[in-house]
């Protein structure tokens, strides 16, 4: 339990740092750390597949992509557009509404009975594979069309046209 609280503290701490960091690159680096703490949460919940996917895809691929984009865009204080007064007001109102909703729903909800899994090994790769290749075989296969289409399109858009006129 104490591990959970420690990791939860770290998650909140790093996500606050994401918001408060002045430098966008630092922000992204903190976001990577935040995702890393999520990975540990998944491991604590015995959801190994989610942990691995979170580690590889989110922390690895997507966040590094973020970092590259940030560096390419060269965001710094001079290029950042000044925040309008009205935008700030709208942000405060929207954020306040969210806070009120969250507090209200927390008050309305009673503490539920602790969820007990029928199968504590639910999140293992083995179980996921079994479901994926029996019940969800068709969606799994059809995803290949999605990937192929995206791949063909990416090549098509990235390839240089031999002619100059379009």
């Amino acid at each position: 339990m104490s591990t959970f609280y420690f990791i939860a503290f770290l998650s909140i701490f790093f996500s606050l740092l994401v918001i408060f960091a002045k430098n966008p690159v630092h922000s992204v680096l903190y976001l990577i750390l935040t995702f890393f703490t999520f990975t540990i949460h998944y491991i604590l919940l015995n959801a190994q597949f989610l942990a691995v996917v979170n580690f590889i895809v989110y922390m690895g691929a997507i966040m590094v992509l973020f970092l590259f984009v940030m560096m390419l865009l060269n965001l710094n204080k001079e290029t950042e557009p000044g925040k309008h007064y009205l935008a700030k007001l709208a942000g405060v109102i929207a954020g306040g509404c969210l806070l009120v909703t969250l507090v209200g729903s927390l008050k309305a909800y009673k503490l539920s009975a602790p969820v007990i899994l029928h199968d504590p090994n639910l999140g293992l790769v083995k179980n996921l594979g079994k479901v994926l290749f029996s019940e969800f075989l068709l969606p799994f296969e059809i995803s290949s069309v999605l990937l192929l289409s995206a791949m063909v399109g990416a090549v098509l858009l990235a390839k240089k046209e031999p002619r100059a006129t379009a």
């Binding site: 059809i142 069309v145 999605l146 399109g153 098509l156 379009a166």
Partner: protein
């Protein structure tokens, strides 16, 4: 199922044809392949379909009818594309392939029986469209269209996915029948999470459909994309979107209509007004068609607001009429754009004298879109409105009739430009054979359905 397999394999065949430089074979292979796919779909008409592959898909009459109409529309659009892609790039095969991939996604969207299939179908369709919107790589408007569509589409997919997750959390299943059973077995105490999920799904699907207030991407994307792709987006994609919408709501949420009906009612009214009133102020024909497609999304939503046993039929009718008429409009627009390089209303001036055939078919299309009797559009609107009246949505029908009257103004702007505004330097357009065939066939179908609606009105 055979249809889906064929349409998934066909693009791969096309890619190979492109690899071996068999450019002339592309169009015939595409058209024949699609015709066979439509035939395979029709062959299953009386097969009394059951959900297949662990209840993932259901090829019932609903799915078959919408598969066939989307396939036929795609054939017509593909025929119009003869010579269009060659001007953009050398990789023609890839464009056809991506278009057909998108169609494969659409087939999944109209025949799903499980929410995961709905999601994958929408994604296959959307990802292909993001690419198609941006195929004019050196055109800034096309780049903007692709990027905007991608960002907005990804955002709306997020909503949809969140909604599906909440439905799963409440009902414990992705299966449409299981979700329906959940709503039936908990008439009083449905989890609030479930309602939130329904709202999220409405947001996600309205984004894809281009209904207000989620329509902001539509005009820019439709205007920036190449006209062929715009034709594809505003006909086939819209039909698929409303079919998926209707399938989900009639299969799962019919018993909790009291909850979501007012939401959709407001969306429908707002969509009608925004689409029609903004279309009044457009100078570009293409942009006008974009806004009119928003208002037609509003009319299509009528069937879901007045959900009943006849909804599928009226959506099928309306989508057919709207698709055929839009294909004519975009076909003529492509020819005009090739000649004058502009898509303003002025570029239609004098078309009645120089090209009587084009002017007549475009007039038929505009009349059909406006819903004038003896055209398919009138029958479509009639079905929609009578469905709404039978559910006592009198106010909604009044609003819709007012909007139909507004729409007549901007549809007639084109007709007036063609017949009553003359320009001296108008040269007759050369109409290629493919265009003549598609335009003539579509105009004929519009009038035929308008006079004998019985041929497709009782199908589903």
């Amino acid at each position: 199922m055979n249809t889906l397999i064929l349409i998934s394999v066909l693009p791969i065949v096309l890619l190979y044809l492109g690899l071996y430089k068999a450019k002339n074979a592309l169009l015939p292979v595409t058209v024949i392949g699609l015709l066979v796919a439509a035939g395979l779909a029709v062959a299953e008409w009386n097969s009394n379909a059951q959900p297949i592959y662990h209840d993932m898909m259901l090829f019932d009459r609903f799915a078959i009818a919408f598969s066939v109409i989307t396939i036929v529309s795609t054939i017509l659009i593909v025929l119009l594309s003869k010579g269009f892609f060659e001007k953009i790039s050398e990789h023609v095969a890839e464009y056809y392939a991506i278009m057909l991939f998108s169609l494969a996604g659409i087939i999944v969207m109209v025949s799903y029986y499980n929410l995961t299939m709905l999601f994958i179908g929408i994604e296959i369709m959307s990802v292909s469209l993001y690419i198609l919107a941006g195929i004019r790589k050196r055109d800034v408007a096309s780049n903007e269209a692709a990027l905007k569509y991608f960002l907005m589409g990804a955002f709306s997919t997020g909503f949809l996915l969140f909604g599906i997750a909440l439905l799963y959390g409440a009902s414990g299943s992705f299966n449409l029948a299981a979700i329906r059973d959940y709503t039936l077995s908990h008439p009083r105490n449905i989890d609030p999470m479930f309602y939130t999920g329904v709202l999220m799904i409405i947001v996600g699907l309205c984004f894809k459909l281009g209904a207000a207030p989620f329509h902001f991407w539509t005009p820019d994307v439709y205007e920036g994309s190449p006209s062929i792709i715009t034709a594809f987006m505003s006909t086939v994609v819209k039909t698929a979107g409303i079919a998926a919408f209707l399938r989900l709501f009639s299969a799962c949420f019919a018993s909790i209509a009291d909850f979501w009906m007012p939401v959709l009612l407001v969306i429908t009214v707002v969509t009608l007004f925004i689409g029609n009133i903004t279309a009044l102020y457009q100078h570009s024909f293409k942009r006008m068609l974009a806004y009119s497609s928003i208002s037609h999304a509003g009319y299509l939503l009528f069937a879901i607001v007045a959900l009943g046993s006849g909804s599928a039929n009226s959506v099928f009718m309306y989508a057919t009429a709207y698709s055929i008429a839009s294909i004519i409009a975009f076909g003529v627009l492509i020819l005009i754009q090739q000649q004058t390089g502009s898509d303003d209303f002025e570029s239609f001036n004098g078309l009645g004298k120089s090209n009587p055939f084009l002017a007549v078919v475009l007039t038929i299309a505009m009349l059909s879109l406006a819903g004038i009797p003896l055209t398919a559009g009138f029958i479509g609107k009639f079905f929609m409105f009578s469905g709404a009246v039978s559910r006592y949505h009198i106010g909604l029908v009044v609003v819709a009739v007012i909007n139909a009257i507004i729409s007549i103004y901007y549809y007639f702007k084109v007709i007036i430009a063609m017949y009553f505004r003359n320009t001296a330097d108008r040269v007759a357009l050369a109409v290629p054979g493919y265009f003549g065939f598609v335009l003539g066939l579509s105009a004929l179908a519009t009038i035929l359905i308008g006079i004998f609606p019985g041929i497709i009105s009782d199908l589903i």
